[in-house]
Amino acid sequence: MSAAEVLAAVLLAGGCVFFVAGTVGLLRFPDVYGRLHAMTKADNLGMLLVCAGLAVLAGSWRATFLLVLVWVLGMLAASVSAHLIARHARREGGAAGTPSGAPADPPGGAPT
């Protein structure tokens, strides 16, 4: 394995760790806000690391630019959805620490 491949493997594995942690948080945290907190970590850092790993593997500026675009768009969609879901939960009276206000019908539409 070349140095670039090792670097890519480390970045991809790191990204997967964030995704696993985010998923565990989504399943285990007690309320909407905690779950959102866990998911946004996966969306932001996990996807950044995966995109960075793929960019190293691809080794071209064009692919890197497209991957950065993917990451920015994903983050944009994730932040706005998280904001809308959290606000909906708060308005529906879901207090922190209770599983109420579950995001059965997030106003942001399809989950990201």
Binding site: L73, L76, A77, S79, V80, H83, L84, R87, H88, R91, A104, D105, P107, G108, G109, A110, P111
Partner: protein, 311 residues
Amino acid sequence: VNVSLAIDAVLALGLVTLAVLVTSGRALFRDIVLFVVFGLIVALVWARLGSADLALAEAAIGAGVTGALMLIAHRRLGGTTTFEAADRPAPPRFALPVAILVGSAVAVIGLSALGIERVVEGAGAAAQARTGETGLRNPITGVLLAFRNLDTLLEMVVLLAALLGAWAIAGPEEPDPVHRATRDTPLVAALLSAVVPLSVLIATHLLLAGTDQPGGAFQAGAVLAGCGVLLVLTGTLRPAAAAGFVTRLLVVAGAAAFVLVGVGAMAFGSPPMTMPGGWAVYLVETAMMLSIAVTLTLLFARSRGLRGEER
């Protein structure tokens, strides 16, 4: 251990598990979410099989737009999330025999398919050999727009029929509460200002790329429809009671352009549905993309037309 075989095995197992979960679930909302996940896994499977075109179409239409349609239908049905035991009708007594019959038929066909020798000189090989004559370098687009374009035309007609059917059974308009929650936050406008132009850009790219790379009218139309769904959800596009002339034109554009080009070719002595050149393919594909996008957006908005935001 063969890594790619392991990935395929995980995908196959996941597909079967998800299929069972989707169909046996008791919570409608959960089933819809699982169906979307199922669509995404199917897209991954197509990607693993090297069918980027199908993977794109499945992810955009099968998982994305269909998921959005089912979620909005679920909301309009009153958001019931669980079935009561009493609501579930008892399975008809033919269910088990039919299931066994169908299962064995699938097994027999599958087993006999394993033994079939690979046909080298099939229609696929002939199509691939002559793709160049269509002026298209993507054989998928060649099949969709040139070799088997009657099928593609009928798909457009099916989409049109679905919209007409939805219009026929749709009840009177109700004010839809979907958009209200999103109007007083600046983030939504910021998201739209980034996503809408990019959707148009990506759709155009997919349409143009379809001639020599994966892509085409269906993928491009689905991306635009996703953009339309977002605009409807955020209240930027509002349902209108009547379809205006432009809406009607856009809805029939795909089928109409196809028929006009296909029948027009006969006037010049070509067989029916011949694409007279690359320009015709672009014309028909653009019209199809617009029809697909507008039809799916109208189905999502449950309306006959769309109008701009009230200011």
